[in-house]
């Protein structure tokens, strides 16, 4: 067993473990914390996949940003840790069943899928793909972002703006309204 494989298994175990724990925890906070482990281990897997930059981003945004605001969310909404209501069992069973079947079908297809690189060539593209992703990873991403993907990049910036404005608009306590009423 190579080191990589070992690393993979450990990380995978943590990731899945985090997910499963999330499903089974009682306390909401614990659930989020469990997921943080998953996010972190996924970052680790990115490193294994020669995507250092993505890994860093993953750590920053997920483990840092998203998890934190989720925690805030939980705090602010004061959930009285009452565990699951007894109703809706059938629905959960069906959901579980659906998920399982979905898993089974896709799993059957990918369980020994291997795509050899470069066997299929585009008519206009002669190079067999970029095999060395880990070399200058960040630079490559940067170049790609600012050339080919400049348009989605810009759209993403608008999207972030939208999210920002939206989040403020919706989450803000409404004092403006009272002011309006004074007019």
């Amino acid at each position: 067993m190579s080191g990589e494989l070992l690393a993979f298994f450990i990380l995978a175990l943590i990731a899945i473990g985090g997910g499963v724990l999330m499903l089974n925890m009682r306390k909401v906070i614990h659930m989020v914390v469990a997921l943080v482990f998953t996010f972190l281990s996924i970052a680790g897997l990115y490193v294994l996949l020669s995507a250092e930059f993505v890994a860093v981003v993953q750590v920053l945004i997920y483990s840092g940003g998203v998890s934190i605001i989720m925690l805030f969310g939980i705090m602010l909404t004061r959930h009285n840790d009452r565990s699951e209501v007894s109703g809706g069992r059938l629905r959960r069973f069906l959901a579980g069943l659906g998920v399982l079947v979905f898993f089974a079908i896709i799993f059957y297809g990918i369980k020994d899928l291997a795509l050899g690189g470069g066997e299929i060539l585009l008519s206009g593209q002669s190079q067999g793909g970029d095999q060395a992703l880990y070399e200058n990873n960040t630079e490559k991403i940067g170049i790609s972002l600012y050339t080919n993907y400049i348009i989605p990049f810009e759209i993403t910036s608008v999207l972030l703006l939208v999210a920002l404005v939206g989040a403020i608009t919706l989450a803000k306590r409404d004092e403006a309204k009272e002011l309006n009423d004074d007019e």
Binding site: G88, R91, L94, A95, G98, V99, V101, F102, I105, Y108, G109
Partner: protein, 622 residues
Amino acid sequence: MVDYAWLVPLFPLLSFVILLFFGQRWRSGAAYTGVILTFLSFVVAVTVLIDQIGGSTAAVTFDWLRIGDTVLSMGFAVQPLNALMLALVAFVSFLVQLYSKGYMAEDPRIGIFFAYLGLFTFSMLALVISPNLLQFYIFWELVGVCSFLLIGFYYYKEEAKAAAKKAFIVTRIGDVALFIGMILLFWQAGSFAFADIFEAVEAGNIAPGMVTLTAILIFVGAVGKSGQFPLHTWLPDAMEGPTPVSALIHAATMVAAGVYLVALMYPLYLASSAAMLTVAIVGGFTAIFAASIGLVQRDVKRVLAYSTVSQLGYMMLALGVGGYVAGVFHLMTHAFFKALLFLAAGSVIHAVNTQDIEKMGGLWKKLRFTGPLFLAGALAISGFPLLSGFFSKDEIFVATLGAGRWILFAIALIAAFFTAFYMFRLFFLIFQGEARHEEKDVYESPGSMLVPMIVLGVCAVLGGYVNTAWFGTFLADWFGSSTNSLGIDESGGSPGVTIIATVVVLGGIYLAWLIYGKRAISREWLSGRVPWVHKVLYRKYYVDEGYHHTIVWFTSGFSRFLGFFDRFFVNGLVELSAVLVRAVGGMVRRLQSGQVQTYGTVVLIGFVVVILIMAVTGGYFQ
């Protein structure tokens, strides 16, 4: 003059149209309009008749309707038979209208009455001069409608209403048969024109079976119209109409149209012995059947009605056994004396305001004209020697015997006996004995009513002399001269038959006198012994009841069943599908629980089902 025969029906039509629009306001003017115009029509008819006897015929047609390559035409034709009918109808119609002027004088709806009479006269005359079966059928139906309208003239009387309806429907059954027969003939002969049809029949272009079938179908039509068994039930009920109507339509003219039809289509019948036999048997049976019912009825008009049915049976019998001239001859004489009888009965009813003969009596003195005229009519219909009925009936007997139909001959004799009996039963009960009526003042009818009766009386007495074995067979010669194809060969008189018939008739009269005149025999003699016979006769053999419990009951039940079927099954299917659609909608709504995770689950399940099916059917798991 024959070329102007189309004028004959036109005058009454004019009368109808005028009276329809103005009749209500005119009242007495309406009567004059009707009478005068019909008289004009009669005059023309007579000239046509004379012309035709002189040998001229006419056949004029014009295109009426084009069906693809076939052209249906309308027009008129004049031959001996219909020239005679033309004059006869116009004559009787004129007389009856004259009579009605007095009879209906009090009725507020006299305008409508004369309008109807005008329409009827028009239709009947147009029927008579039809050159083709289709036109014939059209007017055949129209006279039926007029009959219906006039029977229901007293619309507020439930009986009149029922009678009118019955008349229409029962005759319509016959009409439909005629309709079928007519169309079948058309497809066989390629034309509705009588001439073409007869040509095809003679040329043998029509299969014998088809000839018989069509002949019988047409005969069924005649049965309906002429009140022959088993479609006779409407005719007695039709007496709910005003009496002049009974005289004109239900005695003299329209009901005779059935006989006329058979006579008209005679070549067809000659080609099928089965059809001839059918006609003869139905006629003979009807003759005795109706006569027997007539024996016991209490309503004067009903007795006369059954008498009419019976006499029409005679005519059919005559035609059925090959006695063409005899049948037509009897038709003519019957028109005279039956019209006379009805008018006289009307006069009586007019006087005593009842139709129940048990409530009459002793009127001979009070109705100085009506009495003798009625007697003349009664004698004529009974076949009293030397009166018109005697000659025509005699010919029928001769013809029947000549055809070798012994049984029918016997039946006819018995019927003649019955006829004589019930006519004189009527006569004695009405005019003899003590007065049993409540009416204090009984007056003779006014002149406008009496004149037609007198004229008819004369005809009833003398009408027979146009065709007698003794004084010349004028009628037969005339018919024979123009229509050789009919194969008429009337054997002249037969003294033996004449004597037997005379004896029978006199016997009938004598028996009636014994019972009702002299009262030598108790009236309950028969009804006391075998009460059921009387009852059966009085209830007209329960034919009406029979129909009611079979055909009417079935129709009604069937339609009720269909009604339910329609309501619950056909409609139910519709409701069911609506319910189904709503059920689907309801299901969807129930799933839409508001739970966002349920939605997700539904989506997931849906999705998984899709790819599962895909995977399984696509051979993924291999």
